[in-house]
C-alpha cells in the first residue's frame, strides 16, 4: 500500500495571534494575592467539575468532596426522587462537618455532635430538645450549593443562584459532551497527584504539545511524526471561556507487539460498545476553569486540576468505562489503557514543579507563549478578565 497520507498543516501563527501576542505577566502564576482574587472571581463564580454521576447512581447515594480553593467541604446527594442535590457539609447548628465518609448510601445524615438530623434534600428533620433554641427549624436547612450534570460530568457552583445554568455556561460544548464515552460511563479508573505548582501552570502543561517530544520521548511516540515533529493539533477552538483542540495522530504509528494485543482488545470492546467513529473522538475539551475531557474511544478521560494554594494543586485523572468488567480480555485491555495513560501523565509532574520553582523568585516578569501555546494564553486571558473585573467591582464597592 502506498496510499498518500494527508500532509499535516498546523494552525498558523497569524490565526493564533488573534488571541494575543504580548508577553503574559508571571505574577499570576505564583503570587498569593492574585490567587486569592482567582478564588473569588473564578472559582466561586464558575461551574466546577467535582465528579461523575456514576458515583451516585441510586436514590440515597452521596459523595463528599473537599474543595480547598473555597475552604469548603461539599455533600452531594441523590434524593428520594433521584434528583441531585448539593450542600455545604456543615451542620447548621455550630458548623460541625456532618459526613466524614467519602461516599455511601443513606437517607438521613446525623451530626455526630448534637445529633441534628437532615434528609437528602438538606432539610433539618430532627434536633434533640429543639424547644431550647430561639430559631425556627425551617431556617436551619443545610446551606445549598448549585449542582447539575452534563454528559455524566458532575458540576457544582458555589453560588446557590448561579448567573448562568450549567448548559448556558458550557455553551456549544454541552451538546458535544453528551456524545462522549464519559456520558455513558458507569465506572472509571482513577489516579491522582499532588503538585507544588500553581493550578494554571499545571493545567497549561496539558494544553500545549510543544513539550511532548522532550518530556514524553517514548510514550508520546504516537503523537508525533515526520511532518508534525512536535505533535501540534489540527485545530484550536475558542468558545469563551472554554477552548478545544483537535488532536492530530500519526497515521503510521509504531505500535509494539504486546501493545498491539492490548490495543486490539481495547478496540474490539470500544467497537462493540459503539464508542468508535464519533466526530468528537479527537476533540480535547478544556472546560473553564480547570477541567479537561477527551472523547477518545479507548482512553476517554477527564483531568481536573484543583487549586490548593498559589503554588500547590491536586490533579485527579479518570478513565471512563461503559459497563463493568465482564471478561478477562476487557479487564486486561482496561488495565493496559489506564497504565499507559498514567505513564504519560506522570512524566509531566516534575518539569511543571521545576517551572514553578523558577517562577517563584520573581526573576521573570513575563512569560512568552508561542502560537502553538495559544490555549495557555487563552486561559490566562479568561482568568485575568474575571480577576480584573472582580478587583474593579471591589474598588467600586469600597468607594461607596
Amino acid at each position: 500500500m502506498t496510499a498518500e497520507l494527508p500532509v499535516f498543516e498546523p494552525v498558523t501563527k497569524e490565526e493564533a495571534s488573534r488571541i494575543g501576542t504580548a508577553p503574559v505577566p508571571a505574577g499570576p502564576y505564583y503570587q498569593s494575592d492574585y490567587f486569592d482574587a482567582e478564588c473569588e472571581a473564578v472559582f466561586r463564580r464558575s461551574w466546577l467539575n467535582v465528579g461523575h454521576t456514576c458515583e451516585l447512581p441510586e436514590p440515597g447515594d452521596y459523595i463528599v468532596r473537599e474543595l480547598e480553593v473555597a475552604n469548603a467541604s461539599l455533600l452531594i446527594t441523590r434524593n428520594r426522587d433521584g434528583l441531585l442535590k448539593a450542600f455545604h457539609n456543615a451542620c447548621t447548628h455550630r458548623g460541625t462537618q456532618l459526613v466524614s465518609e467519602p461516599c455511601g448510601r443513606r437517607q438521613v445524615f446525623s451530626c455526630p455532635y448534637h445529633m441534628w438530623t437532615f434528609n437528602s434534600d438538606g432539610e433539618l428533620r430532627n434536633a434533640p430538645d429543639f424547644d431550647q433554641f430561639y430559631v425556627d427549624k425551617a431556617e436551619l436547612n443545610l446551606k445549598p450549593v448549585a449542582v447539575d450534570s452534563c454528559g455524566g460530568m458532575l458540576f457544582i457552583n458555589l453560588n446557590p443562584n448561579p448567573a448562568q445554568s450549567l448548559r448556558d455556561y458550557l455553551g456549544p460544548l454541552a451538546d458535544q459532551l453528551e456524545t462522549l464515552p464519559s456520558a455513558r460511563a458507569t465506572t472509571f479508573s482513577e489516579y491522582v497527584y499532588e503538585i507544588d505548582a500553581n493550578w494554571k501552570l499545571t493545567y497549561d502543561n496539558f494544553q500545549e504539545n510543544y513539550h511532548l517530544r522532550f518530556i514524553h520521548p517514548k510514550t508520546g511516540a504516537a503523537t508525533s511524526g515526520k511532518d508534525n515533529p512536535f505533535g501540534y493539533p489540527l485545530r484550536y477552538g475558542f468558545h469563551d471561556p472554554h477552548r478545544t483542540q483537535t488532536i492530530w495522530s500519526n497515521p503510521q504509528p509504531q505500535i509494539q507487539p504486546f501493545q498491539m494485543l492490548a490495543f486490539g482488545k481495547g478496540m474490539q470492546f470500544a467497537m462493540q460498545d459503539g464508542l468508535v467513529g464519533s466526530e468528537q473522538s479527537k476533540e480535547y475539551y478544556a472546560v473553564f476553569p480547570n477541567l479537561f475531557i477527551l472523547g477518545s474511544p479507548m482512553q476517554p478521560f477527564s483531568h481536573t486540576v484543583y487549586p490548593i494554594s498559589a503554588t500547590k494543586s491536586r490533579g485527579v485523572i479518570r478513565i471512563y468505562w461503559v459497563g463493568e468488567d465482564d471478561c478477562a480480555s476487557r479487564r486486561f485491555a482496561r488495565e493496559y489503557a489506564m497504565g499507559l495513560a498514567r505513564d504519560i501523565h506522570s512524566e509531566d509532574r516534575a518539569v511543571i514543579e521545576a517551572g514553578q520553582r523558577g517562577l517563584n523568585s520573581g526573576a521573570l516578569t513575563h512569560i512568552h507563549f508561542q502560537a502553538q501555546e495559544v490555549l495557555c494564553r487563552h486561559l490566562f486571558n479568561m482568568v485575568d478578565e474575571r480577576v480584573q473585573a472582580y478587583r474593579a467591582e471591589r474598588q467600586t464597592g469600597g468607594a461607596q
Binding site: E190, Y191, Q256, F258, L261, A328, E335, L340, D343, H345
Partner: protein, 115 residues
Amino acid sequence: MNAANRLPAAFAELEPFVDQWCLATSNERTTARRNSTPEEREAFFNAGKVIAADALQLLDQKPLDQLDDKEQCLMSLLLSLAHVSLAVEIQGGDEARHALASQHMPITRSPSNPR
C-alpha cells in the same frame, strides 16, 4: 503452599512469577513494577508475552466472578504483565527515570480492584 500448583496446568511455566506478580490491586501492580529490577521485569515479560493471548482466551470462557483460584491468579499475572510491558516494551532504558515520576501518581480506583 505448593509453589508449583497455583496456576492452571497449561500455564505452569509462569509459576516462578506468582510470588512477585500475583497482586490484588492496580496500585500494588504498578508499585511492584517500580520496585522490581530490570532483570525481574524482563524475565516476567519474556515468559508472559508468549502466553498472554492464549491465557486470555482461556479465561474469557467464563464470567470473571466464576474464575477459580488458579484462574484468578492467572488473571492477576496478566494484569501485572500489562504494567510490566509498559516498562520493558515502551520505556526500555528510560524506566528507572520514569519510575521516579510515577511514584507520585497513585492509582486510587480501578475496576479490577476487589470490591
